[in-house]
Each structure stands twice: as C-alpha cells, then as structure tokens.
C-alpha cells in the first residue's frame, strides 16, 4: 500500500534503509456480522459503534508504518466477504464471497506488493470511482485511511442490505435466525490471503517467509455457537500455528470455547470484553502490538482456557468424551454398535464394557458385608482427626 501513502514526493533514498528494517505488518480483521449477535434489541454495542472502533483501530495499524497492510473480512451467517480490499467490480454483482472473489482480491493485493511502489493511479481509481460518498468530507482525511474506511462501510452496507430473511433463517425453522457465523470459512480465507500476501507458496525456506512480512488475524466475534464448526476451526488453528500467524480474539457477548483455544495455540490474545462499549480502548491497548513486539510484552490474555472439544456425532461441547483410538474422533457416548462411526473400527467388547459399567457400592449378598463395610468407614473417618493435629504441632 505504499502507493497510497502520499509519501511519493519524499526522496525515496533517505527512507529506503529504514523501510527495510521496519518490516511491514499485515493485519486481517474478521468481523462477525451474524444478525443473531448484532440484531437484538439492546446489543452490548451497536454495530455502528463497533465498525467505527474497528476503523479507528485499522487506521492506527496503518499509521504505525506506512507499508503496513490491512484486510477486512465479514463473516456472515452463511457467507464470507471481503470488505477491504474490495472486489474490483464493486457494484456489478451481489454474489457472496466465494473462491472467485477471493482470487480477485488476492491478485490485486499481490500486484500491489510485487510492484512495490506502484504509482498512485495504478491501484486507486477503481476505488475512488466506486465510492460515491467520497466527497468533500474525505479531503480532510489521510488518504489511505479514507480509502479503507469508505470501502469497509460501503461493502458492509452492500452485504447487509442485500441479506434477506431466508439467508439467515434456520433451514428447519424459517422464523428463527441461525446462531452461528462462518468463522471457520473466514479464518480459512484469511489464512489463504495471508499465505498469498507473504509469498508462502513460492518461498523456499520457511523461516524467510515469516521474516518478510508479519501477519496476524483479529477476530471480533459476537456469536456463541460454533460447535458445528469444530473440526474446520481446529484445522484453521493448526494451520495458523504452523504459519506462525497469531489469532487474536475480541469476544463480545458470551464466551466461545474453541476461540480460546485458537488464541492460546497460536499465541494470540483472547479478551472477553466486560465492557463492550469501550471497544476502542480494548483494541488500542490490547490488540495493537504486532507479533514481533509481543515477545517483549506480557499479553493481556486470559490465563485459563477452556480446552473442551465438541463431539463429532452431535456437535456438542462435551466435558467427558470418548475418543476413537484409531482416528481420534470424539464422541459423547460409547458407540452403541461397538464400532467407530467415522472409521468403522470395531472396538474390543471387553474394553467397551469397561466404559459402561455401573458402579457397585454394595455387595449384593446381604447385609452382613454392608454392616462390616459401614463399620470400616466409621473407623476410617475417625482416624484422620489426629493426623492434622499431629502435623500442626
């Protein structure tokens, strides 16, 4: 994004060295826009405020280093869409984000990067023409900020105004909105975008890739039910861990199990906002430092993590699960037909019966034993009393 930073008139030589040392940082913001989170009568923070806070945050990120880059994704109930960088043909099609649209965005971003210092005209006109609101008001704003801000607001508007009730309704019950959003899809697209931007595919040695550009993901999540996406989310988490991309979670509303694991595994920050109205403050103090800086900081992240998993059979979060020892699938109860529902491994009936045994606390043959046992218990509970006393002295 050097093209739009307005510094083209400054002699480039004097800055060149400095620029190379300060590696650019790519931030991908994923905004959860599920209506179930934002559309309630009194949401913890209104969508408008949240977007404004995010824009302030995005602008701050861009202000830190003029080669910093940003991307904004919206995770809707069933679709994912790039808000920035926007699709080149802004208003021509209203089809939701799919592989095609991400390709367009990706190649556009890549062009900007490979070209390095492309001219202002190169990347800009389409954006400008596509944004009718960029009028006199924009003149007072730093150009790059304006481009991002306008694109995000505009694209979000386009996405949501075209959403119909049918898009967000549950298939079984058309009156009720789905509780989930495509977080796993958004994370996948974010990771692919990062991979393309950082040249992950073409680089030969893995270490150089991460050094070339630092990337991270910030997920602003409002929906609480992600159990159905357990496997894809876990896959994204491990991919991010391997790519050394931290996933930060800014959680509004109820805690979500897997997102804590996402932040913990990838070295990101998880904050469950106690005061969502102060979103700007949270973003600026907790989420702004980039990956390199974080090694020197104590991160404001939750220390206790919910490591529970969801069962594969009903997508429910389980406290005690049964794991197939062959394919590691998780189930909430021992299989009724003695075989794994995923890989069909037939389990040892002996082992299985161990899992389903009912505790027997009383010997079935009469009261004599029971009386004896009771006596033993009394005797047992009588002994501990002197023990602590002895220890105390």
């Amino acid at each position: 994004m050097n093209a739009v930073d307005g510094s083209a008139h400054v002699p480039q030589e004097s800055y060149a060295e400095e620029l190379e040392e300060e590696l650019p940082s790519l931030l991908v913001i994923v905004l959860d826009v599920s209506p179930a989170g934002w559309g309630t009568e009194s949401p913890p923070i209104s969508l408008k405020e949240a977007v404004a806070s995010l824009l302030v945050f995005a602008n701050s990120h861009l202000a830190l280093n003029h080669s910093n880059e940003i991307a904004v994704l919206a995770a809707h109930s069933s679709t994912v869409r790039f808000l920035y960088p926007p699709r080149q043909t802004t208003s021509s099609t209203d089809e939701s984000a799919d592989g095609n649209s991400t390709n367009n965005n990706g190649s556009q971003g890549a062009k900007g990067r490979v070209g390095g210092l492309t001219t202002e005209e190169g990347a800009d006109p389409s954006l400008r023409e596509g944004s009718p609101s960029s009028g006199a008001a924009g003149a007072s704003m730093y150009r790059q900020f304006r481009v991002v801000n306008e694109a995000v607001v505009e694209q979000l508007d386009a996405l949501l105004s075209k959403t119909s009730v049918a898009d967000i309704a549950q298939p079984s019950n058309p009156d009720v909105a789905v509780e989930t959003s495509m977080v796993s899809g958004a994370l996948s697209i974010a990771l692919s975008y990062i991979n393309r931007q950082t040249g992950g595919g073409e680089a030969t040695s893995g270490e150089d890739v991460t050094a070339a550009k630092r990337a991270r993901i910030l997920l602003v999540s409002v929906c609480s039910d992600l159990a159905a996406q357990y496997v894809p989310i876990m896959n994204c988490i491990f991919a991010a861990q391997k790519m050394k991309v931290p996933i930060d979670i800014c959680k509004i509303g109820k805690d979500t199990v897997f997102l804590q694991q996402a932040a913990d595994t990838t070295g990101g920050v998880y904050i469950h906002l106690d005061h969502p109205k102060g979103l700007t403050q949270y973003l600026m103090t907790a989420f702004l430092p980039d990956r390199l800086l974080r090694t020197h900081l104590v991160l404001p992240t939750q220390s206790s993590i919910d490591f529970r998993a969801a069962c594969f059979c009903h997508k429910r979060v389980v406290d005690i699960g049964y794991v197939c020892n062959i394919c590691l699938s998780i189930f909430c109860q021992p299989p009724a037909d003695r075989s794994c529902a995923i890989c069909s491994t037939v389990f040892d009936p002996l082992e299985l019966s161990d899992l389903t045994k009912q505790p027997v606390l009383i010997r079935p043959n009469g009261q004599k034993k029971k009386a004896k046992k009771k006596a033993k218990r009394d005797e047992g509970s009588a002994t501990p009393a002197p023990a602590p006393a002895a220890a105390a002295s």
């Binding site: 826009v33 949501l160 009720v176 005061h275 404001p300 220390s303 009903h314 890989c343 606390l361 033993k376």
Partner: protein, 634 residues
C-alpha cells in the same frame, strides 16, 4: 523337558547316543556298542553333571559338519558330531537351557548374567587358529540360545506383576518420585499396596521388560583411549619408542577378540614369545590398530614387524589363501556371485568399474568405510545370529535390498477419507436444539426482527462523523483499561509461576507450607485416582475397597484444609484486608483440588444412598415373598 532328551551323536569317531536328563541333572553320552557289551564300553561313557558344564560351542552354520564342543568347569572338553544341523541346534538349546536352569538353582546368579558369562567364556577360550570365525559365532550362539531359553512371558500378566514384590521394590528404587508417592500414600496413609500398583501396571510391566534387557555390544576399540606419554607418537618420528598407557580390563580384551578376530589371531600366534603387556602396547601403537580403528594410515606411521604381518588379513583374520580354501565350501549367494553373473558385467559394455572395485583410487577412504561396515555387520551378526536364518530367506532379503526402489513408479497416496456415517444410530442425533442452553434466551427474536435491527444499526452518513461520534465515554475507557491491566497482571503471575519453581521472593516459611501443600495435594490426587478407578470398575468384589478409598479421599481433604487453615492462622495478625487477600490467594491454589474431592465424595454418597435404598426395597420385596406367610403366622 521332563522326559530325557536323546539324540544320536558321534564322539571321537564312535557312534553313540547323547542324553540330557533334566531330572537327574546330567548330560550323558554312551557308545552304541554299549548295549552289546556293557562292561567293556562303560569306560567310554561320558557323564557330566549339568552344573559342571561351562560352555557350548557349535561349529558355524557354513561348516559342513555339525559339531558341538562342550566344556566343563574342570576344563575338560568333548567334541560331539551330530548327524545334522537340526539335531545340533536342538541339543544345544536343550543343553543351554538346562545349564542356565542348573545355574539358577545352584547359585543366586540371574539367568541373564549366566548367559553373559557363558558367552564371554566361549569367546575367550575358543581356539581361533583352526577357524577364526568360530569364537564369535559360538559366542553369539551361546548367548542367544541361553537367553531365548529364558521364559519371555513369565511374570508379565497383571496378576503376576501385582504380586511381584521384588520387582516393585526395584522399580521404587529406580524412581525416587514414585518412591515418595509410595511412602506418602501407602506407608503413611495406609493405601493398600495392591491398590497403589493396580493403577501402575504398565509401569511395572515396562520395568520388568527393562530389567530383562542386556546391554548390547559396542565398538570396543573406539572406547579405549590410549594416552601417549611422549609427543613423539603423534609426529611419528620415533618408531616404537613411544610410551603408551592403556588400561585394559579382561572384559575389554575379550570383546576385542570377539569383534576383531585378526587381533585374536595375532595374539594366539605371538604371545608365547612376546609378553602379554608387550603385545598390547605394541598393538596399540601399530598400524594394525590404526586400521581397525578406521584411522587413515600414513607413510610416517611406525613400522612393527610383528603387527604389520596382520595388516592385510581380511575381516576374519584369514590370509587370502585361507579365505580361498574357506570359500570353497561356502555357497556364494547368486546376487553377489560375480562369476555367475559374468554376462551382466557392465564393465564389458565399457563402463568404469565401481568405485569400490578400482584398485588404487581413494584406498584410504575405502578401507575406512570397509572397516566400519565390517564391524557393524559383525556386531549385527553376533546379535541376531544370522546363521539361524534359512538360506532362502536371506536371499529374499538381499533381493529386496538390491531392488532399485526409486525406479519404481510412484504409488498414488491412498488417503482414507473419514466421514461420519450412521449419524442417526442413536436417538440423540436431532436433539441438537435442547443441547445449547444459550439459545433459549436469544431465540425469542424472529429472524426478520434481528435483520431489521441490524440493518438499522448500520453506519450511515459521512465517515468523519461516524468516527467522531462513537468515542467511548471516559468511564468506559477506564473500565476497559482496568480489565486489560488486570489481565496483564494475572498473566504475569501465571507466567512467573510457570518459570520459577521456588522463587526467591517466597519466604522460607512460605516455601515449607507450599511443599507441604504440594505433598498433600499429590496424595489427594493419588487417592482420587484410586477411588475413581475402583468406583468405575463396577466390580462387586471391590465394593469394600471403594468405601475405604472414599473415606481416604475425605481424609485427604481434611489434611489439605488443615494446612490451609494453619497457614491462614499464621498470617492472622496482619490487617484484615491482607488476610482476605491471602485467603483468596491460597484458595486459588487448593480450590480445584478441594472441588474435585467434594465432587468425588458427593458422587459416592449419593450413589451409595440410592443403592442402599434399592437394596432395602429388594429385601422388603424378597421378605414379602419368602417369609410373607411366616410373618403372617406369627
């Protein structure tokens, strides 16, 4: 083994029968003629007590004749020739297991050690002059057969492991952490030892396996580091005068002989004229030693008339002619038989010979490679005793080795795709709606309402206004800031705790309390573990021990609580605020453990009450049925 083992065998040319009787504990050979004329032949009969046998030595598998040499502790030796190899192997196995059994009963020596000593003895006393190969092979045979005679699965079942006190003692000795746990739980808190071990059967099994392992062979020459007292040796200007200090144990000498038959041969042929110490000091200075170590030979190396004679002997210490003679009888495998594959010789098509087959190039490097390959091969041979593998199998193995696998077409990766099938096999499949209690309070909004609300809250108007209009109130900023700082402080604490085990900040008294806490925590966890194991076993026979364990769990709570209380008391004279803080801090340490204990106790008591009630009902029912009439009568 109870019935005597009998096999036909020749001794000094006479035909006869060899018998091993495990009951009488003797090995016996009597000539076949003895049956016709017992008086005359009785002088020829050989009877050896099994306890007197010291070593067995079989002729190598490649040898045309199947011979077994038996040595006694009195140093007498007998050679028997058997009709075929199968007989030889059978006799050897029987004998070696009988020997080890006899030794086990006779002395306290473990069978493994016996096998070891038998192996070493065979290696050292073998006569290498005749056949350089035999000592190593025989040693391998002896050690292998006697170790295979050890019952492999003895004492490995759960029940046997649980009662093997000696094994448990030895495991405790080797694992101090476990020993501490044992002391706390079993000795102090009177957890039955059987319960303690019941949850650690895999540990016991592993330890038992570890104990039966013997240390393998290693390159003994590399482990001997001669210390030269003059610098001259390294420059090589003084020949033979250099003083070398080498410490050699008899075991190491035996190992050298086993691994390097060349040295054995040199020793056998030269030690009567030379003194033993002189032999070794010359050996370690010689080029022979350098060669065997895999070091590069240079023209400056000292010359030694005696040792250099052996420089050109092959791996088994044979000269070229001896090797030739030896080879006449051995079958050359087809794949490495150059004569048999003459038409496939690529050199005839104009190719240069393989690098290892060229006469002059890189001779040094090659000899090093060869030395190490030979040594590795020899050690592998000693261990797995290749001779016992059938010929065809070896050939097949070699064939596999020779295949050019990278010329094979690449096999497509066969991934197994995992899909959930039969998801409807249990009735809960569609009960997803009731699972999430989160939904209940949110689902009263209809989809259209939600959507309308959200669309209404979309940002509208100029962006400047949007950004300036939504600055949070200062109280919100403070709240948010406070949460972030609190998270940072908490995080720092946990990170510190993770990094420092006993941090310097903690006062000594505190450290003592923490140690005590840790100990009683560990004990509590131990009891919880046993409690749940017994509780969930569903075994009526363990019902009594469940009750006992439940009591112990409760006890451990009292213990833990006592430590906490005492600690709080000790800081009670501080101001109340600090006291509260301390209470909270300590409770954070022990809270989870106490919760786990409470949960276990509650589960137990609830279920016990329920089952008692059931029992009562059952008794009443039974009583009504059986004695109903009698009670009515009285």
């Amino acid at each position: 083994m109870q019935a005597p083992f009998t096999v036909p065998a020749q001794h000094s040319g006479k035909k006869g029968i060899a018998t091993v009787s495990s009951i009488k504990q003797v090995f016996e050979w009597r000539p076949a003629a003895a049956r016709d004329d017992s008086v005359e032949a009785s002088g020829d009969t050989i009877v050896i007590q099994l306890g007197e046998l010291s070593s067995l030595q079989a002729s190598p598998a490649t040898h045309p004749k199947a011979r077994l040499k038996i040595k006694t502790k009195a140093d007498a030796q007998y050679v028997f020739q058997l009709p075929n190899r199968a007989n030889l192997d059978a006799l050897k196995t029987v004998l070696s297991s009988a020997i080890s059994a006899a030794q086990q009963s006779a002395s306290t020596t473990a069978a493994a050690a016996a096998a070891d000593s038998a192996a070493v003895a065979a290696g050292s006393v073998g006569t290498p002059a005749k056949n350089g190969k035999s000592p190593t092979k025989a040693a391998g045979d002896a050690s292998k057969s006697s170790s295979s005679a050890l019952p492999q699965n003895k004492g490995m079942s759960d029940a046997e492991l649980l009662v093997d006190r000696e094994l448990q003692q030895s495991l405790l000795k080797s694992n101090s952490e476990l020993q501490q746990q044992f002391l706390d739980a079993v000795v102090k808190q009177s957890l039955p030892a059987e319960e303690f071990w019941r949850t650690r059967i895999p540990l016991l099994r592993m330890h038992s396996l570890v104990r039966t392992q013997n240390r393998g062979l290693y390159n003994v020459l590399a482990s001997i580091k001669p210390v030269s007292t003059t610098q001259a040796n390294s420059t090589g200007t003084e020949t033979g005068q250099a003083q070398v200090k080498v410490s050699l144990s008899p075991d190491k000498i035996k190992d050298i002989f086993r691994q390097y038959p060349v040295v054995n041969r040199a020793y056998q042929e030269n030690v009567p004229p030379l003194k033993e110490t002189e032999f070794w000091s010359r050996f370690f200075l010689s080029r022979l030693c350098r060669k065997l170590r895999g070091e590069r030979l240079s023209v400056n190396d000292p010359v030694d008339a005696v040792m250099d004679k052996y420089l050109n002997l092959d791996q088994d210490g044979l000269t070229a002619e001896e090797r030739e003679r030896e080879n006449e009888n051995t079958k050359v495998m087809r794949f490495v038989d150059i004569e048999a594959n003459e038409e496939d010789d690529s050199q005839k098509a104009g190719n240069q010979p393989d690098i290892t087959m060229r006469p002059s190039t890189q001779k040094d490097a090659l000899s090093i490679i060869r030395t190490f390959n030979e040594l590795s091969q020899r050690i592998v041979d000693i261990v797995q005793n290749e001779a016992e593998q059938p010929e065809e199998e070896t050939e097949k193995l070699k064939e596999k080795e020779l295949q050019l696998q990278d010329l094979e077409p690449e096999a497509a990766a066969t991934r197994v795709e995992l899909h959930l099938h039969r998801s409807s096999d249990s009735g809960i499949a569609k009960s997803g709606d009731d699972s999430s209690d989160l939904r209940a309070d949110q689902n009263n909004h209809s989809a259209s309402e939600l959507l309308r609300n959200m669309k209404n809250s979309l940002p509208k108007g100029p962006i400047n206004d949007l950004l300036t209009s939504t600055i949070p109130s200062s109280s919100m900023i403070t709240h948010a800031q406070t949460q972030v700082f609190k998270l940072i402080v908490d995080r720092r604490h946990t990170e510190q705790e993770k990094n420092t085990t006993a941090d310097a900040e903690t006062p000594a008294a505190d450290a003592a309390v923490i140690r005590e806490m840790k100990l009683s925590h560990a004990t509590a966890v131990e009891f919880l573990h046993h409690f749940w194991a017994a509780f969930l076993s569903g075994d009526p026979a363990r019902a009594a021990s469940v009750a006992q364990l439940a009591a112990s769990v409760e006890k451990s709570k009292v213990r833990l609580q006592a430590i906490v209380d005492r600690h709080i008391e000790s800081v009670a004279n501080k101001d109340p605020a600090a006291l509260e803080q301390e209470k909270e801090r300590v409770n954070r340490y022990v809270g989870i453990t106490l919760k786990a204990i409470d949960s276990a106790c509650k589960t137990y008591k609830d279920l016990l009450a329920k089952q008692q009630q059931q029992l009562q009902q059952q008794l009443q029912l039974n009583g009504g049925g059986d004695h109903g009439s009698s009670t009515a009568e009285t």
